[in-house]
Subunit: 170 residues, 2 copies
């Protein structure tokens, strides 16, 4: 029963049969997974087999200037302890390193190592290749339209990171 307020009922377009509403989110998720899986498969081939999907987001959050556990936790939407544990893991893998802040002895600045920067550069290049592949398959115009439409429907760039907790759970 659709007792909702929003405009239009079923079959907003009129012509042709529209897919059921639940297909859209499903395809969005599948497309995301396809891209990420391909990136990480290629990343593994290029010498980074241990990277996980979330690590790319962590690297982005760390940024070129480095960050701290507390700050990272805020950016990723998790506790500082959880962020600290993630950093521990990345440190063990050799992707980040902790340094001291000369201006604040409490802060331990987390920075990407050369290996971390390398993985980030490689993943950026792979993403470009994948986008080019999509452009080849769909046409440059339609891909641009798709991206524009997604940009229209999604908020600026707020990006919460509770993925595991958000999704799973019972």
């Amino acid at each position: 029963m659709s007792t909702n307020s929003s405009a239009v009922g079923t079959n907003a377009g009129g012509s042709g049969q529209d897919p059921p509403g639940f297909e859209l989110p499903l395809r969005l998720l599948m497309a995301f997974r396809v891209l990420i899986d391909e990136v990480h498969a290629e990343l593994a081939r290029q010498g980074h087999p241990d990277l996980r999907p979330m690590h790319g987001f962590v690297f982005q959050a760390i940024g070129p200037h480095g960050t701290t556990a507390v700050e990272l936790g805020r950016l990723l939407g998790v506790s500082k302890q959880a962020a600290g544990k993630t950093i521990d893991g990345l440190e063990r893998l050799g992707y980040v390193e902790r340094g001291v802040d000369p201006n604040d002895a409490r802060r331990k600045v987390v920075r990407l190592t050369a290996r971390g920067v390398d993985s980030l550069a490689k993943s950026a290049a792979i993403f470009e290749d994948l986008r080019a592949k999509w452009a080849g398959a769909l046409g440059a115009e339609r891909l641009r339209a798709l991206e524009e439409d997604l940009r229209t429907m999604t908020p600026g760039d707020s990006f919460h990171f509770d993925m595991p907790a958000w999704f799973g759970g019972g």
Copy 2:
């Protein structure tokens, strides 16, 4: 192709109209989250505040004829024990119930309760409303094109469900 673009953070897109390659997966994920969050916010308003994103997928996997823990585990890509625990939680919430299979005393068939069916019907209606909202914002034609393009780029309908494990980890 695959010239190294900027390593970190912002890519100063400059003159070109094409966004950096990593924006595509990001927007796909954000769009997915937006839709799912709206569905569950509305679902909460309509009497189902305890449902989590993954539950919808579980309900779909259970289907109208019911299923078993082993089968559910296979469909969702997790162990039968994990599937069993998920069922336990849903049973506590009153969304599914376990019955016996007259033809096989080992099997315990999991079926949706009336409440489970209700939530499924409501979420389907909400998804339709959301799709209509997208159609209103983007235009029916462009939304159809978007869905068609996503369908082109994603495999049939296999969707693995290791989301938490797949994404997180370190």
